[in-house]
Symmetry: C2
Subunit: 154 residues, 2 copies
């Protein structure tokens, strides 16, 4: 099993080099690096896009549900949603049935942005791991799903 990027002044990482937590961190850093390399003038970050996308696909979704499904803490979600609202990409409505909560819907402007970004956002993944073919990437995804599911027994 090869070990990640052993440059000239390589050091010995021992078991850490194949630790699953460490590998997950490295993989995510790589994804981020590529994201921002191809970022261009799309002024939307991965987290923001995932929220926008989820609202687009679930009109009127409650903010709280979004937190649970995207695994984002409430205090942070407040900021993300406010930022999207400030840019007129989503709108908030306090429903009469439960005046504690907030229902979120995407605006026309937001939908336009999603339509524009989504192809890039998801195609982006196809450029990921150019040296991995599609089959291998699907296997990796399947195994990540299994891993996540196995940790979600709570």
């Amino acid at each position: 099993m090869d070990v990640p990027h052993s440059s000239s002044n390589a050091i010995n990482l021992g078991r850490l080099a194949t630790d699953i937590g460490f590998l997950l961190r490295l993989a995510q850093v790589k994804v981020y690096e590529r994201y921002f390399r191809e970022y261009g003038d799309r002024h939307i970050k991965p987290g923001e896009f995932s929220v926008l996308w989820a609202i687009a696909h679930n009109p009127g979704v409650r903010q709280n549900v979004l937190c649970q499904e995207l695994i984002i803490k409430r205090s942070h979600m407040t900021k993300l949603v406010r930022s999207l609202e400030d840019r007129a990409l989503v709108s908030r409505r306090v429903p009469d049935e439960d005046r504690r909560g907030v229902e979120l819907t995407i605006t026309d402007k937001g939908q336009t942005l999603v339509d524009e970004i989504a192809p890039w956002f998801f195609a982006f993944e196809d450029c990921l791991g150019e040296k991995m073919n599609a089959t291998e990437r699907e296997k990796l995804k399947a195994q990540l799903l299994k891993f996540i599911a196995s940790e979600t027994e709570d």
Copy 2:
């Protein structure tokens, strides 16, 4: 292909649910959750441990090399190392050959801590994904390594 944790008030995440960046984030969150669930009174965080471990295995390593190998930015590494030094776990030495740099070595106290934590830190991974058997986990790791390598052509 199953989709992560569809609770009662599930929503439709569409393609996002199998996006590799999204899955990597979820997987890492799960690892962190478990880490801190089993954290106990071990007052060392994953990042700190990885630095300490790397120093232990590479006595006299240059701080800069550590940055490259662990993919941690210099400004952050400064803080991590200072924190370890403040706890007398590592010691810093400015070598005469190159007075810009810093050589790091682990102290006896640091080594004792590594010896104490390491078995838990790495065994910890064996409890990860209890519903995944060892073979499957090895496959996942192998594919993560391939993924990382394929993104490290720069």
